[in-house]
């Protein structure tokens, strides 16, 4: 069931944020910052864009998502739970011994996860392979791949960008989570983010820029990508790391730590208030 109502999608995205905070708090570890920054993107993909069905989760005809920045998996679990792939009670087991919900996505364990990731820089190559295979058999699948802006410091990303261009993978849509932060600080400080648009443009991508927290803009961007033929697309989604929780926003320190009890309560309160709005 495709959700088209913007307000409804915003509500789902906010629930996803609450779930991220709960998972990380329960686990006492995890990556809230980069998960919160893709909550809107994943919500739009899974509830509005991707051709998938809970009844037939393994259909070869389904669209695929490669969450290349696998550390943000709490966001994916939250969305999959909203979609009914994962039992919501199970979210409490995130990162715990014996759980299906591993610290990084594991396709062998969770229905609805299309690729295991965790070692950064590898997802775009895999998404390319999926896009190539879909084209070989004219299956018509669209392949989505979410990259971190720190992640693209990995050389393999640019190897893969050349491959996507070579094979004109117009069924591939990359989303760059442009939150400007990585672990050691800003991407600018750590490695530099110059000419992001022209880099991807010169590698042969159709570059679309969007506010990664504006549902309507995201939908329009995905539609633009869908209509673009003969080349792969990338949506450079401007986001805020930690989006929705005031004290986590734009703070590198919230990349990979769990909130204390007090912080948890404030975070949940803030997010619940934004639902009412």
């Amino acid at each position: 069931m495709k959700v088209t109502d913007i307000k409804e999608l915003e509500k789902i995205a906010n629930n996803v944020r609450i779930s991220i905070i709960k998972q990380v708090y329960e686990a006492k570890s995890g990556h809230p910052g980069g998960a919160l920054s893709i909550a809107d993107i994943l919500t739009v993909l899974y509830f509005n864009q991707m051709n998938i069905s809970e009844e037939n989760p393994n259909s070869n005809l389904r669209d695929r998502l490669v969450l290349s920045k696998g550390h943000a998996v709490a966001a994916l679990y939250a969305v999959l739970a909203e979609k009914g792939y994962i039992n919501k009670d199970e979210l409490k087991t995130f990162r715990k011994l014996g759980s299906k919900l591993q610290g990084h996505p594991d396709m062998e364990l969770v229905n609805g996860i299309d690729m295991s990731t965790g070692s950064l820089g590898q997802g775009l190559s895999i998404a390319n392979g999926m896009a190539i295979a879909s084209k070989m058999d004219s299956l018509g699948c669209r392949i989505y791949c979410i990259l971190g802006d720190g992640e693209i410091e990995e050389g393999q990303i640019w190897e893969a960008a050349m491959t996507a261009n070579k094979y004109k993978l117009d069924n591939l849509c990359v989303i760059l989570d442009y939150n400007r932060l990585q672990i050691d600080g800003t991407v600018e400080e750590v490695k530099g983010l110059d000419c992001l648009r022209s880099k991807w443009d010169s590698f042969g991508f159709n570059v679309i820029e969007a506010n990664g927290h504006n549902i309507e803009e995201l939908i329009n961007s995905f539609e633009l990508a869908r209509q673009t033929k003969g080349k792969p697309s990338i949506i450079i989604a401007k986001t805020i790391k930690g989006k929705g929780v005031s004290f986590m926003e734009n703070k590198a320190e919230w990349h990979g730590k769990a909130p204390s009890e007090v912080e948890y309560k404030i975070a949940i309160e803030e997010l619940e208030k934004s639902i009412v709005k």
Binding site: N60, R64, V66, M107, E108, D114, M115, S116, T117, G118, S119, G121, Q122, G123, L124, S125, I126, A127, N128, G129, M130, A131, I132, A133, S134, M136, D137, L139, I143, G155, Q156, E159, A160, M162, T163, K166, Y167
Partner: protein, 313 residues
């Protein structure tokens, strides 16, 4: 054994792959700008739509293969062993082995017998690196016939495989007559015993099997009877045969075109120390990089040829 008809296992591989491509439409081949050396060019010519040259981007090639395999196809990825196992190790570990991806990593130019290209191109650690990975099957073939068998056989395994191939042209071991006389069958998880001498067991893999067979012949004339084990299936490995040979023979020698520290010598030691403690002499490259030279010269210098085996007696 046909000593005068030599063919490199990479050549057999390329030809067999093209044949397999005819029978199985799901076979897809990827290379990293080495198609003429890995011999996938034969497949590429026949099936251009199922061949992908990813360029000099081995890490990207591994990942691309994973994505293709997720759609039910069977990718064979090809490059030199030093790049397949070394350059792209993290991709092989995390994207292929951990996900149990149905990807066949066919690595040519293994070992010191790469020859003239020298140390940077002579992969001496790949057996250890690959057999350490859960889900990975590791095969190292010793001649043309066995390689052709392996190319087909690994397509039936559901999961990742590392196939170790050589640049050097070597004699055909398993011609029809030899197979019949020695009652030989290829099977993943099994090793082949050739001869039943009790003076020693010489366990080889890849290019060293022929050397062991030559040594067997020479030693016979000196009244020393050894048996050979061709350890082509490195993982899973035929523990029973190794234990049986240790019980039945006075000496155990392993010989490999690979580091002695993480190759079949180590593997045999692991098996025997737990099951039937015995002294094992490990012949191979001893904690050193290789160098340029002719393959035969290097085998002599690094003592992985028939003469070196004979000198052990």
């Amino acid at each position: 054994m046909i000593l005068d008809k030599k063919i490199a296992t990479r050549q057999s591989y390329g030809e067999a792959l093209a044949e397999l491509g005819e029978k199985n439409e799901n076979i897809v081949v990827l290379d990293a700008d080495l198609a003429s050396a890995t011999k996938t060019s034969i497949f590429a010519k026949k099936f251009p739509n199922r061949f992908f040259d990813i360029g000099i981007a081995e890490q990207d090639m591994m990942g691309t293969a994973v994505g293709i395999s997720n759609f039910g196809k069977i990718p064979y990825v090809n490059t030199f062993a030093v790049f397949a196992a070394g350059r792209a190790y993290d991709q092989v570990r995390n994207s292929i082995a951990h996900t149990n991806a149905n990807v066949k990593i066919c690595a040519t130019h293994c070992g010191i017998t790469v020859g003239e290209d020298g140390a940077t191109h002579q992969m001496l650690e790949d057996i250890g690196m690959m057999r350490n990975l859960p889900n990975m099957t590791v095969i190292s073939t010793s001649d043309d016939v066995q390689t052709r068998w392996a190319v087909k056989e690994i397509s039936k395994i559901k999961g990742p495989v590392y196939l170790r191939l050589c640049r050097l042209a070597t004699p055909i071991i398993y011609d029809e007559k030899f197979i019949e006389e020695n009652n030989i069958k290829f099977e993943i998880g099994k090793a082949i015993q050739i001869g039943d001498g009790t003076d020693a067991t010489v366990i080889g893999t890849g290019v060293t099997v022929v050397e062991a067979l030559k040594a067997q012949e020479t030693l016979r004339k000196r009244g020393i009877n050894i048996r050979i084990v061709d350890l082509y299936s490195i993982k899973p490995v035929d523990k029973e045969l190794i234990i049986k040979c240790a019980k039945e023979t006075k000496k155990i020698i392993t010989i490999e075109d690979h580091s002695i520290n993480c190759g079949i010598g180590s593997l045999v030691c692991e098996i025997l120390s737990e099951n039937y403690p015995a002294k094992v002499i490990r012949m191979g490259i001893n904690d050193t990089f290789g160098e340029s030279g002719k393959a035969e010269e290097l085998m002599k210098k690094y003592k992985i040829d028939a003469e070196a085996i004979c000198n052990m007696f």
